[in-house]
């Protein structure tokens, strides 16, 4: 399936190549560079390119292109999903997925890639299985390695996960502090039109878990109001039948951090947006200037404070500079990318933040017809905007008492206000 992989940085250098079948010359990437030249933004490069003899399937993650070469029919999503998994594994191993980190750990990266695919077909993609075969770099180990040079990075037995039905968990996990924490994070995706009416709004949620438990615990997480959940997708550990019958999540958790489930709250339930935005952006026919006036206020926050409020505006190309005053927070205008960012911080309901001032346009340029849209970022701690609540977490299979905790967080996802 996947023939080769090339890692390409933002400026177009190939800094790593790996072939799982015969070697393919890196000149194959030229087709990609051609497409990249044409596209203005790296996001606009088509993920699948056809060349005379190969197909190039690319993802763009962390300013890097993961370009894979495929020679015959293969489901494109299969390849894309795999490449993302590779990036996830790098992230997991090295803390971030960037060029410098990959270059520093090139041998480990190479060993990982070798284990993850065999003849182009995925062999081991579970992080815990890989970690038993190839140990992630730690400070202690690198110290010991430099001193003695004997500590092997590679395991010599088959990871237990490979053979078991629960490849996501390794055997013999031990902790002195047993803890299981769950973060319920909800993101609001919304489009609000000029007049302030909601065009569409929906809530996407995710439950991130951090489970450090000894042995082989079997957890059951139940909700107060599972009916809210409209569409769900699970980590493979979740037993689907139990969900079907009892609407409870029953699972043997992987060790460490993982995404337990993603959910979608049905759009039938009216989504209450936590903030409203009053805006007016106008450009004048007479003279190269425009006016901008934005006010943000709380709408439905259920008594919680809105934090980390931020407004981002992609201005039309003709806007040269902005001369604004903010009653709260600070703003920056990037001349190169034409992005105006207004970082507000905490939203004070008594004194609404306002950004006001003039925009100067390029002299001679026609008045921009299109008004930019506003992207809103915000955070509300200790609240899930959908109202979803975890009722309890039970543990079977082990005797000790773990520490348990649930945290809620609401964030703005793709929250856009049109002008």
């Amino acid at each position: 399936m996947i023939h080769s992989l090339f890692l390409i940085n933002h400026s177009g250098d190939i800094f790593l190549e790996k072939h799982w079948k015969s070697v393919i010359s890196r000149s194959v990437c030229d087709y990609f560079f051609e497409a990249k030249e044409k596209a203005a933004e790296p996001e606009n490069v088509a993920p699948v390119l056809q060349t005379p003899h190969h197909y190039l399937i690319t993802i763009y993650r962390g300013k890097l292109f993961f370009l894979s070469v495929v020679q015959t029919e293969a489901p494109p999503l299969f390849v894309i999903e795999f490449l993302h998994r590779v990036a996830d594994i790098f992230q997991d191993y090295f803390g971030e997925c960037s060029e410098s980190v990959i270059k520093d750990n090139v041998v480990t990266v190479y060993e990982l890639l070798e284990e993850m695919l065999d003849n182009g077909f995925p062999l081991a993609t579970e992080s815990n299985v890989l970690k038993e075969m190839i140990r992630p770099p730690t400070i202690l180990r690198s110290v010991v390695n430099t001193l003695t040079g004997t500590w092997s990075n590679v395991g010599d037995t088959l990871p237990t996960g490979q053979l078991s039905n629960i490849p996501w968990r390794r055997a013999g996990v031990k902790y002195t502090n047993n803890e299981a924490y769950f973060d319920v994070i909800e993101e609001i995706d919304a489009i609000v039109d000029k007049s302030g009416t909601t065009v569409c709004a929906e809530i996407q949620g995710v439950i991130e878990a951090c489970v450090r438990l000894t042995g082989m615990p079997d957890l059951t997480l139940s909700f107060m109001n599972p009916r809210l959940l409209d569409d769900v997708s699970f980590h493979p550990c979740v037993r689907f039948k139990r969900w079907e019958s009892e609407r409870a999540l029953s699972f043997i958790p992987p060790d460490g951090n993982f995404t337990l489930m993603n959910y979608h709250v049905s759009s039938q339930n009216l989504v209450a947006l936590p903030v409203y935005v009053k805006q007016s952006i106008s450009f004048f026919d007479s003279g190269p200037c425009g006016r901008l006036d934005i006010t943000v206020g709380p709408k439905q926050t259920m008594g919680k404070t809105v934090e980390a409020l931020m407004v981002t505006i992609h201005m039309p190309k003709a806007v040269l500079s902005a001369n604004l005053t903010a009653t709260q927070g600070s703003y920056t205008y990037d001349l190169a990318t034409k992005v105006l960012v207004w970082d507000i911080g905490k939203l004070n309901p008594q004194k609404l933040p306002n950004l006001k001032g003039s925009l100067s346009l390029q002299a001679g340029a026609p008045k921009p017809e299109d008004n930019p849209s506003l992207n809103i970022d915000l955070k509300i701690q200790q609240m899930a905007i959908s109202g979803l609540k975890v009722s309890r977490l039970e543990m079977f299979g082990e005797k000790y008492k773990p520490f348990k905790g649930v945290k809620y967080l609401t964030k703005a996802g793709k929250f856009q206000v049109r002008t």
Binding site: V48, V107, F121, T157, L163, N165, I191, D231, E369, D370
Partner: protein, 964 residues
């Protein structure tokens, strides 16, 4: 040292020949010499005795490979280290070998013996990685070795090794396609494997080697369906895609009756109401139509459905395409929600999903309508995503939602992204042609856009307006006039060409303006683009025909210009048109019809989605995405007219996991505390047998807890339906490293376990005759060395069976069989018993023979569990110690060659336990080397001590008194 000096010589030779550091990195060209030096010190490090130095060198070499630099001149120095004890060095050497062996085939052969040794290693990881590398080095000369290794690994005890074998199959195939037939045999064998680990990989091999051999799937179809949910996610994708194709060849079209017309005939401008009506009509039709879905078809649909909840987008897509291609129309809707969910994922995933949604939304518009808003476009989406969402929105537009959609489009037109605006205008055009009611509104909107400042927007509008005007030109002459004026400003060729065509086509609506436009065009003719020039000629011809008085000279002028144009198309056109419209002596009858030819009423264009009819490609495939057949793409066959024989999927019942309820591993609750839920199995006895079969084969790594296996046969059949036992693949349960085969062996050795009967011939296969056998554990009187096998014949057929006897016995060397006396007559419904003797010669090789009746012959085989070859002997502790002492005195040796790897392992485990217990000893004639090997070798299976029977000694059954 002599060997290493030989290496050095070779090294010198190859490095002088090998091209160093070429091409890849032009920057390094200047420092060739220093690179050589660096390589020299690498060679030194590789030759050293210290593992740490070797490791350091290998790391540097691998880093070079990763950067794409040539390290091939180090081959001889590296290949020496292939047998290095340090596992990390070894792994890196493997990486190097796989990369360069193809280029240095001769030297690569030096490493082969190491891998061959690795293939026999007791550590499954080493066996597997040896096979992986051996099969990856792409050296043609070792094809026979690879073939042998694959065959052997395919029957390895470890499923991981078998999985590796499955991976190796396509590698060998691409190296030497001649091996296809042999490889298919291996594939067939591995397809029958019951572990989830192997399933995905072998189906992948199947798809690459012999996708046309759909007949191999029949017997495994139900098993694959049932295993599916427990297969790892990548395997799921491959299996689902393959099963989609399979189902298309084996089952009938579920939408065939009644809904036939809507299935094929529905297109985008179909009225929604109509569709509603049809839906209503379909329901009663479904009741009376004779179509009944094959239960296997249903099984597939039901078992794949939960996978829509997978976190892996590729799995969700695979299920979605399966439903789209296979499910009855009413059921397809379930996939919409899952697909919409994927739109939250990475933009690449969105891109692929939207392409597929676009195709689906043409055929099944109703499915995505509730999710209309999920396709609304945000200004931050990448352009390609925007365009695809637009496509979907256009496909979803109908009378009820068109106003909302148009309102959305209005905001899109103001976007900064001009490509996207152009696509929006196209989309508006399509909505206008498809939905008559909004045509005028759309047209007005587009006309307003003509005064837009951006030329691209105007040009695109012109093109779309032209298409719309063609529908009702008479009503819109003022728009045509307006557009005629635009020729002065618009420079985009396509737009100019469109305007000219419009004026020419409808010149009778604008009789005054048209000649003037032609005049202007004639002036600028030489500077126009080719498509515009062609349209100028066109316009001239049409005007000449309708209004020759005013335009005769202009037309001739244009034609003369065209005659000397650089483009031959234009010269051709000019010559052709001149002959046609200017009457001369020579011009024949055609010029009479010139007016009819040029000014015929032309049908209005149908604005079609580019995704129309793309679904003849399997959705989710690369070919579908590119709208072109990719190499290796397997066509999705049409439904068959009549269903092929469904009985081909029948398997002996013991194997078949019946089509009852999806009970999946995840849901089986084999974990503590929830056993109750799992007692829902419909046919425990079959499952039970299924389990036994696998016990017997010993190929599966099952784990049963000790208590269960001991009491297994004594429990009543109905009671032991515990999911634990019937889970064919649950290894490592509770995560104690229970080695399955160990338990199996002990269970069989244990004399307290009751007699178990095994199936020799199932009644379905035997056409009514069923045969079971058990090891009666009685001495076999005719020959003391033989094991008695008691066979029970049952005739379930309606007619009697005659002359039951054995024929054509095939045995491994040394084995002997004493046939059972022929059974003359077995009336219907009766049961008969016979005893035969087999000398298995202490091996667990199967005895194969044919069981014959007067009409048929059946191939059957008997394979003994190890335990049945032994019998208990009681020893005092002193005697035991004496025996043990004798055994330990024998030195450790590798396994004797006559035992295949897998069997060797199982015996090893028994021995191991016994050594732990220190109360037991086994004597197996001829197997001493094996014992000692294990007794001396350190192992870690301490926990199972309690499993071993106490104070007993097992001896080969039927070998009384033969002590070493």
């Amino acid at each position: 040292m002599s060997a290493s000096s030989a290496f050095n010589e070779e090294k010198g030779g190859s490095s002088s020949v090998g091209e160093p550091e070429y091409g890849h990195d032009p920057a390094s060209g200047g420092i060739f010499s220093s690179d050589y030096k660096r390589h020299d010190d690498l060679k030194e490090m590789l030759d050293s005795n210290k593992d740490s130095l070797k490791l350091e060198a290998m790391k540097r070499i691998v880093a070079m490979i990763a950067r794409g630099k040539n390290a091939s001149d180090l081959f001889p120095a590296v290949v020496k280290n292939v047998a290095c004890k340090n596992i990390e060095v070894k792994k890196l050497v493997y990486v190097y070998l796989v990369r360069y062996a193809e280029e240095q085939q001769d030297l690569a052969l030096l490493s082969i013996s190491t891998f061959q040794r690795g293939l026999k290693d007791p550590n499954q990881l080493i066996r597997a990685s040896a096979l992986r590398v051996l099969s990856s080095i792409r050296v043609t000369i070792i094809v026979p070795i690879m073939m042998l290794a694959i065959k052997e690994a395919a029957s390895d005890m470890s499923p991981y090794v078998r999985k590796t074998a499955a991976h190796a199959i396509p590698k060998l195939y691409s190296l030497d396609p001649e091996q296809k037939d042999q490889l298919i045999e291996v594939i067939e064998k591995l397809l029958a494997d019951k572990t989830t680990l192997v399933a995905g990989s072998v189906v992948m091999a199947f798809e690459e080697v012999c996708p046309e051999r759909i007949d191999l799937i029949h017997k495994n179809y139900r098993k694959l369906c049932n295993l599916l949910i427990d297969v790892e996610e990548w395997g799921q994708v491959v299996i689902i895609n393959m099963l989609t194709r399979y189902a298309r060849t084996q089952f009938l079209n579920p939408n065939m009756n009644g809904s036939d017309k809507t299935f094929y005939g529905s297109d985008e401008d179909e009225d929604e109401e109509e569709e509603e009506k049809e839906k209503k009509a379909e329901a009663p039709m479904a009741k009376r139509k004779p179509y009944v879905m094959d239960p296997d078809h249903r099984l597939l649909l039901r078992n794949t459905k939960p996978l829509l909840q997978s976190r892996n987008a590729a799995v969700v897509m695979a299920v979605a395409q399966l439903y789209f291609h296979l499910a009855p129309k009413v059921e397809v809707g379930v996939i919409a929600k899952a697909l919409v969910r994927l739109l939250r994922s990475h933009s690449e995933v969105q891109y692929v999903v939207l392409q597929n949604v676009a195709t689906m939304s043409i055929k099944r518009r109703g499915m995505f309508e509730p999710y209309l808003k999920s396709f609304y476009i945000r200004s931050t989406d990448p352009t390609q995503i925007k365009v695809l969402k637009l496509e979907v929105l256009t496909n979803l537009a109908n009378e009820t939602n068109i106003s909302t959609i148009l309102r959305e489009f209005q905001t899109y037109i103001k976007s900064m992204d001009k490509d996207f605006v152009a696509a929006t205008i196209q989309a508006i055009g399509r909505c206008a042609t498809n939905i008559g009611e909004v045509r005028d509104t759309c047209l007005n909107g587009l006309v307003q856009l003509l005064s837009n400042r951006d030329e691209l927007v105007v040009a695109e509008s012109v093109v779309v307006i032209k298409k719309l005007l063609q529908m009702q030109p008479e009503k819109h002459s003022d728009i045509i006039k307006h557009m005629a004026k635009l020729t002065d400003n618009i420079q985009v060729p396509m737009a100019r060409a469109s305007i000219l065509w419009l004026i020419g086509e409808y010149c009778e609506h604008v009789p005054k303006i048209a000649p003037d436009v032609l005049r202007k065009m004639a002036k600028s003719f030489t500077n126009e683009e080719d498509i515009v020039k062609l349209q100028i000629i066109n316009l001239a011809a049409k005007l000449y025909l309708t209004n020759s008085k005013q335009t005769k000279l202009l037309t001739q002028y244009v034609l003369n210009l065209a005659k000397y144009d650089q483009n031959y198309d234009i010269r051709d056109r000019a010559r052709f048109i001149r002959q046609l419209i200017v009457p001369t002596e020579k011009s024949g009858a055609l010029s009479k019809y010139a007016k009819k030819l040029f000014l015929a009423l032309k049908p209005a264009p149908v604005l079609e989605s580019p995704f129309k009819d793309r679904d003849h490609f399997q959705l989710g495939s690369l070919s579908h995405l590119l709208n072109a057949k990719a190499g290796g793409y397997q066509e999705l066959p049409d439904w068959p007219e009549a269903a092929p024989d469904p009985s081909v999927r029948n398997v002996e019942v013991k194997d078949s996991v019946r089509a009852v309820g999806t009970v999946t591993c995840r849901d089986r609750e084999r974990w503590k505390g929830a056993r109750v839920c799992s007692r829902t199995r419909a046919n425990p006895p079959q499952e039970r047998k299924h389990q036994r079969k696998s016990d017997q084969q010993k190929s599966d790594s099952e784990s049963e807890s000790d208590e269960e296996s001991d009491s297994e046969s004594s429990q009543s059949e109905s009671d032991d339906s515990d999911s634990e036992a019937d889970d064919p693949v649950c290894n490592n349960r509770k995560h104690k490293c229970i080695d399955s085969s160990l338990v199996l062996c002990l269970q069989n050795i244990s004399p307290c376990s009751a007699l178990k009967s095994y199936e020799l011939l199932h009644r379905i296969r035997g056409e009514g005759l069923s045969v079971e056998y058990c090891f009666s554990r009685q001495p076999f009187s005719p020959d003391g060395n033989m094991v008695a096998v008691q066979m029970q014949f049952t005739n379930n057929a309606t007619s009697e069976a005659k002359n039951l006897h054995m024929e054509d016995v095939k045995l491994q060397s040394g084995m002997r069989v004493k046939e059972f006396p022929e059974i003359e007559l077995l009336p219907a419904g009766e049961t008969a018993t016979a005893v035969m003797g087999i000398d298995f010669c202490d091996s667990t090789q199967a005895a194969n023979f044919q069981l014959c009746t007067h009409t048929r012959k059946f191939f059957v085989s008997i394979q003994p569990p190890v335990g049945e070859l032994m019998r208990p002997v009681f020893l005092t502790e002193n005697e035991f110690k004496k025996e043990q002492g004798e055994l330990i005195s024998v030195t450790c040796r590798p396994p004797t060659p006559f035992l295949s790897d897998s069997r060797f392992n199982s015996i090893r485990f028994i021995l191991f336990c016994i050594a732990q217990n220190r109360k037991l000893q086994i004597c197996l004639r001829g197997l001493y080397s094996l014992y000692t090997y294990d007794i001396l070798g350190p192992e870690t299976h301490h926990r199972h001590r309690k499993n071993s029977p106490k104070n007993e000694k097992t001896l080969p059954r039927g070998k009384k008194g033969k002590k070493p």
